[in-house]
């Protein structure tokens, strides 16, 4: 547990010392959502209706953009090998790193969502569910995407490869994530979709952690 917390605080420190990486993801999220009113026209009804979808797709792309820096720096500078010499199993090291990555990606996205909802004139009744579903859903995206990021280590044009591996896995999360806010907008019960999203995230937990550890061992051995 002490080692787990040491890794968590080390990862937080790394990001505090170099906030640019995180800011880039946040900036991407903000700017890309701003493109939609310009492209589809500023019709309030239309924008309010498609807002959850836009926010979800852009959040998904932001996560995708942040994935290469999850394992690549550690793999490149050799700190991955060093952490494998610790008493903590690699699976828990993976969990600690994904946890921090989720925290640093999901929290800024969740904080910005009300602002973007305001821009799209989204019904504020749907906002808590949208933010909540983003927090849960981004966890699933980080877990599944981590496997893709670990598998792409050492490959040429890794970033594109990460996207190709991860995007198909993201589809179920996107479908149920968006439907939660959509149902809330239509004043339908969204509990079912929320539970399915939770189930998806719980399913992604072992898949993401074990899959990433396996892929990292593979990357280190080649």
């Amino acid at each position: 547990m002490k080692i787990f917390l040491a890794i968590v605080s080390h990862e937080l420190k790394l990001n505090v010392r170099q906030p640019g990486d995180m800011m880039m993801v946040v900036g991407f999220f903000l700017l890309t959502t701003c493109l939609f009113p310009l492209a589809v026209g500023a019709e309030p009804n239309l924008l309010a209706r498609i807002a959850p979808g836009i926010i979800w797709v852009t959040a998904l792309l932001s996560v995708l953009l942040s994935l290469p820096r999850l394992w690549e720096p550690d793999y490149d500078d050799g700190s991955l090998e060093i952490s494998m010499l610790s008493a903590l199993p690699l699976e828990l090291i993976v969990l600690a790193k994904i946890l921090v990555h989720w925290f640093l990606t999901a929290i800024p996205l969740a904080l910005l969502t009300p602002l973007i909802a305001l821009m799209f004139q989204l019904d504020f009744a749907a906002l808590p569910l949208l933010v909540g579903s983003l927090l849960i859903g981004v966890a699933a995206l980080c877990l599944l995407g981590s496997v893709g990021a670990a598998l792409a280590l050492g490959a040429r044009s890794g970033t594109v490869l990460v996207a190709l591996i991860s995007l198909p896995l993201f589809i179920p999360v996107l479908i149920f994530g968006v439907s939660i806010a959509d149902m809330a907008l239509m004043a339908l019960p969204s509990q079912g979709a929320l539970l399915i999203l939770l189930a998806l995230t719980l399913f992604a937990l072992p898949v993401g952690v074990l899959g990433t550890a396996w892929a990292l061992r593979l990357a280190v051995s080649s």
Binding site: I3, G78, E81, I82, M84, S86, V220
Partner: protein, 204 residues
Amino acid sequence: MLKVKNLACTRGERCLFEGLSFDLEEGGLLHLVGNNGIGKSSLLRLLAGFNTPLFGEIDWCGSNVYEDLTAFRQNLIFLPDQAPLKKQLSPDDHLVFWQRLLGYKTGSSQDVGLSHVADLPAKVLSSGQRRRSSFLLLDQGRKLWLLDEPFVGLDHEGVEMLLSKIDQHRKEKGMVLLTSHIPLSLSDYRVLDLASYSSDEDAS
């Protein structure tokens, strides 16, 4: 302590060496030599359990290391040829993290001659200073030291410092395996030339 029996290692499609056997007793130092690409680094990574051998056996204290890799790895420290540093963190930050990660009790940036730059981020350090920072990973608690080209980039004083660290570690019954292209000014060590085990006809 460390027993290697009939080891063979491949890299890609190519067989690097085969039939490699050696023992390393407490306090022993093994200097790996051989031409570039002969498999020195691969052997060190093999011994750290990152790669798996094509065949052969590695025993630690009488038991096969692959039976419990995590337990075995707590007996060793591996220093890659590049210092494993984060460019935004200082040597002291690394020391604090490594101590907690690897369970070290002692060590300070003074020991490796970095007290004047201990709180500067690694990106402003010279390559020799980065190399010295990586020596913060060397701890007496880890019996087996696997050092990949540890002398590269060091100044004269740095070489002396590392040699005395190695000397002290051996006095405490530690074991050291290192690769280096310069002869070591140490007493009582063995040299292992990988060329005699190479599968490549030209090299042997």
